[in-house]
Symmetry: C2
């Protein structure tokens, strides 16, 4: 791979040399947080929002960050300038740091790296995806931890079911997909999205901010799985996908992407935000 | 630190050079398993049992192991011989491996390393520890994953409570401590330990195997937290501690270590196993 500049613990280095010692709690105890944002040319999309969430995650996990917000912005700008990637993803990774006793947070390790990323398409995908529901509640759901144990573990099962992605629910209430938030349009054309037990996605936040501008009402509330099955339109949102229509959830095929008019309106409004 | 030999992915190297790339699912998604065993001079305690559990954990997590059981035994023997540590811990760590898509298991990474360890005392500690109970269920509890997110996260809270360790319970039923199994002696002098939703500790297994030899009865069953509060003796077990008496759980101080006669019998019988 082309040498890409990255940052770790006060030093810039080649990405191929970027690794985490086994003594780091991020490796030995799965203790770490991250944030991930998309870039286009020299622009890091929604950097401020991602930094807000990164520092909130670090704080929630008792992990002091060795660099200030402005210092991190400078590092991100340096990577953008040096690596000159047309489209990329930048990850801010904060692991628990080396712990000689294997347990105690001493000095968290900050790693920031940029990798090429195929950008999402410029038009809303015609074909929606197939979600398979599964009862599961992420621990510390509001924090962007590195804990994707269940998501990875369930991949063979998801494949058996023929699904494209998982949809978690907690006591019959829909929460999120492993790496995306979920939205539905009900039969009164109201946009509805879960309000708890999930990650506060940046794309989710932006969608909520633009509904007014397209005359849409939004409700943040619990969504029973049974209600989602009967929704008019369903989509998921994430930084890498923007908005992705859903055409099937379990055995329910009620979502015709051809009629996803409101999803399309949201897509267009969202694209404008990125400009 | 003195250079210690370790193993990773087909190569022996210096422990100071042992690290995991950020692309490894063990780092980026907290996806990995391990096992940890204690050694005395050239002897690895209960190596067979630890290997059984290691391969079972790997299998449960869909992680193929690149080395056979006998090859791993050879690596362990090489470390024992080369490092010449009087007392140590050996960790077998299997991380998900590098995933270019950040999600898919391709080739898990096997790391085996040995570090000095202060051995547990040769007599049963006089002073028992203080456990603080907390409702929490580990995901995939029977698998020795690297997921200790909640245990590390709760350390500041545990300190506030003045406790030495956490005791997890699930719906009022005691399960385990983050790194130990729990046992109680009831007022009929029966040894009781949880039977589900916890890790199958090797020390726990050995204790269960020796009860017959000291004329003790054992029950593996659910233990309500309220019942544990009233037990005659309570202790926890782990590879690093062997057996550690518990003298307080939450606000219940019913355990006098001075009268921990059955715990002492078990300790003595267990010490004999290590010889």
């Amino acid at each position: 791979m082309k040498a890409l500049l990255c940052y770790q613990d006060g030093q810039f280095k080649d990405y191929n040399d970027l690794s985490i010692p086994v003594a780091d709690l991020g490796v030995q105890r799965g203790y770490g947080i991250f944030d991930f944002l998309r870039t286009t040319e020299q622009h890091a999309h929604f950097l401020d929002d991602h930094l807000d969430r990164f520092f909130a995650s670090a704080d929630a996990m008792h992990l002091p960050v060795s660099k200030s917000r402005n210092e991190i912005i400078d590092i991100v700008q340096t990577l953008l300038k040096e690596n000159q990637l047309p489209f990329s993803g930048i990850k801010l990774l904060l692991t628990g740091g080396d712990a000689s006793d294997g347990y105690t947070i001493q000095k968290p390790r900050l790693s920031i790296f940029q990798l090429p990323l195929i950008p999402p398409p410029l038009v809303l995908p015609e074909k929606g995806i197939h979600l398979v529901s599964r009862a599961y509640q992420r621990q510390l759901p509001g924090v962007k931890t590195t804990d994707y144990l269940m998501a990875i573990w369930l991949q063979p099962w998801l494949k058996e079911q023929g699904g494209d992605d998982l949809l978690y629910y907690n006591q019959e209430t829909v929460t999120e997909c492993p790496r995306s938030n979920i939205f539905m349009i009900d039969h009164d054309n109201v946009l509805v999205t879960p309000k708890e037990n999930m990650l506060w996605g940046i794309t989710r936040k932006k969608i909520i901010e633009i509904v007014d501008s397209i005359g849409l009402k939004i409700e943040q509330r619990n969504i029973p799985l049974e209600e989602l099955y009967k929704a008019k339109e369903v989509f998921i949102s994430s930084s890498t996908k923007r908005i992705m229509p859903v055409q099937r959830i379990d055995h329910s095929y009620t979502f015709s992407t051809a009629s996803n008019n409101i999803t399309r309106l949201l897509w267009d409004a969202f694209l404008n935000l990125e400009k």
